[in-house]
């Protein structure tokens, strides 16, 4: 084995444990809700229908207020695929048709920090963040385990 081969082995010996630790670290997408919501009733199907605006009010007549990250955000793509079963791009046709029926898509904010701030201060609000961004200001409604081999989140924690 030459010098270059030895250097490669050394580099792998140093890097592999780091990569393995990062790859195996549990990371979840957390659906968060304002404290006014009864989260025990929020199943995956219910959350999907809130985000599709099929469900506009709860049993007491209070509005559900879902909030999204921008369509280009990797976490939105993961959320959309996992819970709504379609990518943001696939849903564009759906939202154009809903808009014509008077139903607009969820509001958009720029970052996970903004999602938490919005959900914490807005009655009936519901959003999603990574577990590393979770805050005590909101309550957890639902957890989605992420698969790093398929969920492409470039900057997972901001």
């Amino acid at each position: 084995m030459g010098t270059s081969g030895f250097a490669l082995l050394l580099a792998l010996q140093i890097l592999l444990p780091v990569l393995a630790e990062e790859g195996s670290r549990p990371r979840q997408l957390i659906v968060i809700a304002n404290r006014t919501l009864a989260v025990e009733n929020l199943t995956q199907t219910t959350i999907a229908n809130i985000y599709r605006r099929k469900l506009l009010v709860d049993d007491r007549g209070n509005a559900f207020v879902p909030v999204n990250l921008p369509a280009t955000n990797p976490l939105r793509r993961v959320f959309s695929t996992a819970l709504l079963k379609q990518s943001p791009r696939e849903l564009e046709t759906y939202w154009n048709e809903q808009y014509y029926q008077g139903i607009s898509p969820p509001y958009v904010v720029a970052s996970s920090e903004a999602v938490i701030r919005f959900v914490a201060t807005t009655a009936g609000a519901i959003g999603y963040v990574l577990d590393c961004n979770l805050s005590d200001a909101v309550i957890v409604a639902f957890r989605v385990q992420l698969d790093f081999s398929t969920d492409q989140i470039a900057a997972p924690c901001d």
Binding site: R53, K54, V57, T72, N96, G102, R117
Partner: protein, 370 residues
């Protein structure tokens, strides 16, 4: 949707962001709604879905279409086909008010004249919607008649073709005025059943209603305006909402006809390998006579060719006994969607026994949903 009573008030910054979003949408520019760091924490509408006045809980938008048509035996015409303005007001969580105004053909240009003589201004929809429960809402006012699928999504930017299948417009009034209840029932599987029941009293509530012809013809003996109607529609969404099936029934009293009519319709849409298939079939017949029966069907495929460019193929057949309303048609075209809210279309329609209702010809259009 403006749910402003539950959105923190950030005043001018949000208004500025909303205005920027609206202008961007009108310009066909799909930049993010949050254009500045200062606006980054403010909730904003998804781009391309109207201009939101969140403090007033009001959303304003619409669509516009320009068109070129070259029908056999007629001069080539360029027209501003539609300007539709759509406003929604959501004062509380349970209430939604919607109004849609339409200006049709305000300007038509041919080789020898510029005219506004065919201009029509009208109220497409005007209703109040009250959410009785999560699964039930009541609607009062002028609505799109819940028959088939095309009629409910007929805005030009939402469709793949310039022309509309005959079966989606000739046998029934495309708008009804009265009361309806509607809602969505979700199943654990994720599938959803939408339902609508309606009672129409157009004769008393909308005396200005008129028979609706296709845009290219005026069949004087053709009647499809409702005096009264009662009916409903079921629509089942499945395969992660990549497929849906609809069924419609209406019992109608058509203006000018002696007997009441039954109208049955089925429709479907399915996405398979990025190809969108749609179809509708409908039959209408009267209690007392077969004289006024009509039926029709169409199937359509939108096939992706390259990014944003689709080939469109539609075959249809329509048969009516009242007038010269029987035709077999084929429509073949291209649709280019640089954004989901903007579409450029080019198509050619040809057929048999179709000169009276849908003559052979070429069409092109550009439409923007804003």
């Amino acid at each position: 949707m403006a749910v402003g009573n539950r959105i923190p008030n950030h005043g001018a910054r949000r208004a500025a962001a909303a205005l920027g979003c609206a202008l961007a949408a009108l310009a066909g520019w799909s930049a993010p709604a949050y254009a500045t760091d200062a606006a980054a924490f403010n909730p904003a509408p998804e781009p391309g879905h109207g201009y939101s006045l969140a403090d007033l809980r009001l959303n304003l938008g619409g669509y516009i279409t320009v068109r070129l048509k070259d029908l056999k035996g007629e001069p080539v015409q360029f027209d501003l086909r539609d300007i539709n303005l759509l406003g929604t007001w959501i004062p509380t969580a349970r209430w939604i008010f919607l109004a849609e105004f339409k200006v049709h053909n305000p300007i038509a240009i041919t080789a020898d004249r510029v005219s506004g003589a065919d201009a029509e201004v009208g109220l497409e929809r005007l209703y109040a919607d009250y959410a009785v429960s999560p699964q039930l809402a009541m609607r009062v006012g002028k609505i799109l008649t819940p028959i088939g699928r095309w009629n409910l999504t007929h805005a030009d930017p939402l469709e793949w073709t310039v022309t509309r299948p005959l079966v989606t417009v000739l046998p029934f009034a495309t708008r009804a005025t009265g009361v309806s209840v509607h809602g969505a029932l979700a199943f654990d599987s994720g599938n959803v059943l939408d339902y609508t029941l309606y009672v129409d009293g157009s004769k008393a509530l909308d005396p200005l209603r008129d028979d609706i012809a296709t845009e290219d013809i005026e069949l004087r003996r053709l009647h499809n305006a409702f005096d009264t109607a009662v009916g409903g529609q079921l629509r089942y969404h499945f395969w992660d909402d990549r497929a849906e099936l609809g069924a419609s029934y209406s019992n109608i009293q058509v203006r000018g006809l002696k007997d009441r009519s039954h109208l049955f319709g089925v429709d479907g849409r399915c996405f398979w390998r990025q190809v969108e298939f749609t179809s509708e079939a409908l039959i209408r017949y009267s209690d007392g006579t077969r004289e006024n029966s009509e039926w029709g069907v169409f199937v359509q495929a939108a096939i992706p060719l390259v990014e944003s460019l689709h080939a469109i193929v539609r075959l249809e057949q329509f048969k009516g006994d009242r007038a010269a309303t029987r035709a077999r048609l084929g429509t073949f075209g291209l649709a280019y969607r640089p954004q989901s809210s903007m579409v450029f279309k080019l198509e050619y329609r040809l057929g048999g026994h179709n000169q009276a209702v849908a003559p052979d010809g070429a069409f092109a259009s550009a439409s923007v949903l804003f």
